[in-house]
Symmetry: C2
Subunit: 411 residues, 2 copies
């Protein structure tokens, strides 16, 4: 049994899926464990920076008025009360005619209003000759001068990298609230599939989509849940899909959607208690990609062709993973780039061609990688963009601007 | 005690360090565990693709000479022997006047030399009318047509992402030899440092460098080994560094190298049984960065300023981690980009300014992020490039091309 297929645009498909995206549950992890996760809380400055009057120089904390008229010819002599290294607190007031030795980063005593650079003094034991008149405030960073308390630093959904981790540590976020990693069940279908450990057999091919998808899920911040692959048996596949829903946030299948396959996924969408969103897309590769929803859980039935499967994940599954983890923008970043070589499209559907970008003299170029037969898996590793080719018979020339989607997003 | 400091260039420093880079040990992990790791073996096609004569169409496997003269007006009638789905093997020879129903991906019987598309036939029970003359070889992909056996697919040192994982699965690499993740001990020094969990105290600041570096180490494929931070106590620091050498491949410290600090790292380099490579660099921030070697283990003494510490890792530590994991190119990728805004340099050293890149109409622009005081940690999170500013008093204008180093490299 099949059903009518009315192709919709990729944008329409994405917006239908987006209506089911909800930010997920959160959990609390330690500072170090938070690396690579996405924030589920806003991060603010919990105190001003600096939080004490800080010396910007290695030198002497002074009262500026004591230095009035000081010059190399007529230095002012001040008695040295103590030494204030970074990390310690001053114990002595700076009274008239006195000063304290202070290191960069040290606490400037309340009674001092300037720091004289070491180079502008001549030092003897217990006293120093200041050779320059100081302005009030010179070389003293006042409380909050670099950052006020409550400054908004990190929004929810931000991925935690080195710079974020530094801020979390600095502001005492010992435990960090992050979004839970969405669980994505991955199920490949097809009687022709062997496991990677199986010996080759005539007519059979090894399942590579499951492993490719697992890596894509991880890269998008999710946890793959690998389901044993199934042959072309709709009942068994349906059982596995429904079991998978119980143990994962969503299910991604490959195979069984194309005309000419044993369309076991079509069978599932025809005989379930869920809703099918669409079953035909205006895109190559991957036009038979089918997506449905059951009890608010998404079922993505991707094509079994590795290239179509790869693109299907990036265009439709990744946005859900990102959205669940609070990322502000769900979709692959888009930019314009120069085509490195002529490109001819013959089809009536837009194409998403795997490409590689490179920079030259301030310009960004993109080039198709490998032979873009969707059955050929070798070019996936070389792609860092999907080049968007408009539909219709068109001939794009080298150095024309095309729109591309960025893969391998690290943010 | 201090020593003379002769500033060397960043390139000289990198090349001195490079002479100590050796690819590390290897280990065997499962296919799924190999995600994100770097290959320590070359990966070849262990069989040709396809490894059987494969049908490219849904239709009928025929002997082309049986279809001579066939046309819609004068179709050729062939008897249908069996059905060959993908994943099964044909059991019947195609003898004169016969054919077999075959699916896309199915095994073409040896005795057939073409596949007729389903659309070019009219089907009845047990026989089909072929409406088109077929050329020998039509719609049949011969063994090895897509890839010969032993085709080189992945070089040592390649990072394993979705496309690489797919190839490993396809070619039966159930266990994958990868480079061990280098262990990097991280030790922050300074009497002013608090742990993130400590309450604030006047004059003290929370240690953020340790956590930033831990994330940088992970991002470069290494394992951070966090050492308890030490106050300005050279003996204690030396003990911790030497202990760390026993438990890690290399040690990275922060602080204690600048003039005006209690130069405890300088003390270590003056009183150890290792060799100091350099202790002054022609770069800002991070000019006092010091690197030494003891028993073939590197000690990187980075500046305590977060910005300098961040850049020091990217320029000097990351290459060693990449090199140990077999990556072909050790250094951050470099490209030219347009400056988004005027930039004035005053210093006599080249600068590495944290910047953000963006694309516009096929051009790549870079813009300085935040205030680039190396003490200000907030801009690190926003940086995806380091802009290389030449030394000397120069005024760079907006739309001038500058050289930049790419951060957050995912490959």
């Amino acid at each position: 049994m099949t059903f009518n297929r009315t192709p919709i645009t990729v944008a329409d498909a994405q917006s239908q899926i987006a209506s089911f995206i909800q930010t997920g549950e959160t959990e609390t992890v330690s500072l170090l464990e938070s690396e690579g996760r996405r924030l589920a809380e806003k991060v603010k400055a919990t105190y001003p920076i600096p939080h004490f009057r800080r010396s910007g120089m290695d030198g002497f904390a002074v009262r500026s008025k004591d230095t009035e008229g000081a010059s190399p010819e007529h230095p002012v002599l001040l008695s040295v009360q103590e030494e204030i290294p970074a990390g310690s607190v001053p114990t002595k007031e700076i009274i008239q005619g006195s000063c304290s030795r202070i290191m960069t980063g040290g606490v400037v005593p309340d009674s001092a209003d300037a720091v004289v650079k070491l180079e502008d003094t001549d030092n003897q034991q217990f006293q120093t000759a200041v050779k320059q008149e100081m302005q009030a405030g010179a070389n003293v960073t006042e409380i909050g001068a670099e950052m006020s308390e409550d400054t908004m630093l990190l929004e929810k959904g931000k991925r935690i990298g080195p710079g974020e981790l530094a801020l979390l540590a600095m502001f005492g976020y010992v435990h960090v609230e992050v979004y839970r990693q969405p669980k994505v069940a991955v199920l490949s279908t097809g009687s022709e599939l062997l496991n990677p450990e199986d010996p080759l057999q005539p007519g059979k091919i090894r399942n590579s989509n499951t492993y490719m998808l697992a890596a894509q899920v991880k890269n998008a911040g999710g946890q793959p849940v690998i389901i044993d692959q199934v042959p072309d048996d709709a009942d068994l596949a349906k059982e596995r899909v429904f079991d998978a829903f119980a143990n994962a946030d969503m299910v991604v299948t490959t195979g069984g959607v194309s005309v000419g396959d044993y369309d076991i996924l079509v069978d599932i969408f025809n005989n379930w208690d869920g809703e099918m969103l669409f079953n035909k897309l205006q895109m190559r590769p991957g036009s038979p990609t089918t997506v449905g929803v059951r009890d608010n859980q998404l079922l993505f039935a991707l094509s079994g062709n590795p290239g179509a499967c790869f693109a299907g994940f990036e265009l439709f599954v990744r946005p859900v993973l990102w959205g669940m983890q609070g990322k502000e923008s769900f979709y692959l970043p888009e930019f314009n780039a120069y085509l490195a070589e002529d490109f001819t499209n013959k089809g009536s559907f837009p194409r998403f061609v795997r490409g590689r970008s490179y920079m030259e003299d301030g310009k960004v170029f993109v080039q198709q990688v490998g032979v873009d037969k969707s059955s050929i898996v070798t070019s996936i590793k070389d792609a860092d963009v999907l080049i968007e080719i408009p539909p219709g018979k068109i001939e794009l020339k080298a150095n024309e601007l095309v729109s591309v989607l960025k893969l391998n997003v690290a943010e």
